[in-house]
Amino acid sequence: MNTFWRKKLSMKYNQSEPKPQVQPPALNDPLTGILEQDLLKIKETFKKSNDVLFSEFNLGINEAVRAAIIYTDGLADTTIIQNSILDSLMHETSQMEGGLEGLPTEFLYRWIKKRSLTVGAMTELTDFDSLYTSVLSGNTVILFDRFVHAISVNTPGWDERGVSEPESQTVVRGPRDGFCETLRTNTALVRRRIKNAKLFCEPKQIGRLTKTDLAVMYIQGVANDKVIQEVHERLDRIDIDGILESGNIEELIQDETYTPFPTVYNTERPDVVAAALLEGRVAIMIDGTPFVLLVPALFIQSLQSAEDYYQRSDVSSLIRILRYLCFLIALLGPSIYIALTTFHQEMLPTPLLISLAAQREGVPFPAFVEALVMEVTFEILREAGIRMPRAVGQAVSIVGALVIGQASVEAGIVSAAMVIVVSITAIASFVIPAFNMAISVRMLRFVMMALAASFGLYGITLGLLALLLHLNSLRSFGIPYMAPLSPYIADDQKDSILRFPLKKLLTRPRLISPKNRTREESSSASKPKSNQ
């Protein structure tokens, strides 16, 4: 098994042209053009699958040309096949005077393609391999006797979930459409937001067996060329039998495998993707999942939400500050409590210390064990809440309220203050908009708790320093992860911790879109005219 993606892939800006990757030779026998033979071979291939259907028919008044269509039941739309392929072929060819006999095949073929088929998207196939892929993708393939080309017609007809409200990143104000599992629908959702020919949508297929369709989207001239190139390279380097979700791709193309932090951003929201494309990011869409990947992903991105740009700027600035605070609480809440109550009692005001001490009277465990038990319990509850069938959801919340709540305090197992600390930490971790970042923070919380229990605030400080070092060493597709905080980019501070009004956000992020920095020329256009 190839393990090249285990290597740290880093991108340097002054790198010379990268070596082109060698594609493995595909198994492609050309079609022979003799219908009997070809059909036999295809039927042999699909003999154990009854969902691939064949139907043979003859064209022309005197049935001079034999043809066959092949499609997958359930994937192809039978109405289209009926109306636009079979009907029109039969009809047109029967109208033709003198029948089809004696006409040169080349002419016939061109005529059928140009005149008689009333469908939009057609491609020519010359080999079996692409024929199979085409059939299994939901297309309908038409074979004619004595033609070496098969015609593949786009007839998508499978059932899809449709565009519905995204579950993972909800907003109060903002568009409510979310991506679905069909690649074409998803690219269309983005196209609807950016009507520009410079928005490229490059196709790819990954997965030796699954042949999963991908689309790499970016705006030419806004996105960083080096990042685009790097995305293509990394995608082309993937050699795996199956891709089922964008998470697979994410793992295979991220820069650094050993980090708890997400260096690839994912979202279900078309408006977020559109905004990212306008900033100069690159989107990778995968067929079969509503989650679209965005690179390069930065730390601050996971603490920002789409709604920040739909609410007033002062409101969203404050809420952003609140989120940063929540990030710290979610990371350090229990550990600070442990450190203060077991190492630094002198830091607490006397009345507070007395009430904490009173609560701890009779609690048998050290503060660390107490916190650990509570945190683990909370994690169990959270996980249970996700895995449970919906019908049982009520039960979990009731039990949860008992386990981390008054009952456990009254049982004398934990102190009331600990319950409060754990609860606020839990709530704070749900504030973080990016789910994968929230999970990382939850994981690191335990490390911090262990450090706090061993060395107090000193340990927490060490942990934070180590975390800072680690975060600053990370890169996402060559872009420093902590930009624009470190390296400090003064211009981009307008949209990192605070969000300035749109009139002030005149430039794109410098590292992400180095060439094309101007968003707005000037902001005078939107001002009301003064009365002259």
Binding site: T342, Q345, E346, I354, A357, A358, E361, P366, L462
Partner: protein, 397 residues
Amino acid sequence: MRRASIFFMTALCLLLITGCWNRRELNDLALVVAMSIDKSDDQYMVTLQVVDAGEVSSKIGTSGRTPVITYSEKGKHVFEAIRKMTTGTPRKLYFSHLQMLVISEDIAKEGISKSLEFLSRDHEVRKDFFVVIAKEEQAKSILENITSLEKIPAQKMKTSLETSQKVWAPTVAIQIDQLIADLTSEGSNAVLTGIIITGNPTTGTTLKNVTKTSSYSNLKFQGVAVFKKDKLVGWLNEEESKGYNYIKDNVKSTVAHIECPGGGDLVMEVLRSKTKVKGKVVNGEPSIDIHLSAEINIAEVECPIDLSKIENIIELEQSINEKAISVLEASIRKAKELGSDIFGFGEVIHRADPQAWRTWKTDWNKHFAETAVTIHSDFKIRRTGIVSNSFLDKVKE
């Protein structure tokens, strides 16, 4: 791999050789909130007031136990006595939340520095607790008194000391760091507030004390103890204490009264008092200038006076200033009698003329007694309340 292991080892060393390893759970600690030092034969008797947290906290479940417990132990040295106490205490004593130190008058007369050495050296003790002198009582019995309203007596003492200094003025809230600075300074001497027990001290030690609206006994601050070096030499009465606080610019607000020109009293509230003490050397003799300024609100008028007339107000201001000067003079006179410069005039002279100071600093207290002090008082009446003239003279006879 090698780099990683080196990094790991370094990190481990950094963590383990810091000596930061004093984990203690909250429920293994006995919070000491007050400490008293008494003399017993030729030994110290140290008493500690420890909080029973479960009893103090807001949770319902008062089991009839006292909110604080005191432990006493004798020893040749303070620290020995404290360590000896562990034979009787169920938990480790924790001194970081010490709020009051009560020293008995006997020790104060002999000299307090030796008993303070441990408290200034120990790393666990913070330097922000108040020091008071137990007047006419054993310091131990002060700590044994149970107080109403504020469950922890130490807390009660601390807050009432702070507030009374702010709005009443004859008490001084001195924290240990300032006390030590005063003791070691050449140009000033230390003062400490005295504390007494009113009522019945023996009932005061039981919970019965808080079962009556007016407690059987109470703790009160009274008088200011004057020290010479580290020995108590005398007490200032209320008036003199107020004068002391005016000179030291400790007064935030206080109450004073003067006699009206036509008999009867007029009570007023003093606000925004500000004192500037300047020193200079005149003809080779030290002299001190005190500038006192404040705002007055008239609080009670118990005499026939027409406050709407400006000349009356001016006249009042004059008599207020005379009164203030007499208060300050009384205080200075007392200090000179005791031969102790508690106002820090020495330091003022030191700043004004370091050359001259060098000749006096060895026996400054003697020179202090001969120092000329001039006092300028500038009190201004700002507000007369919401009625101009008192209704008292309109009351039907």
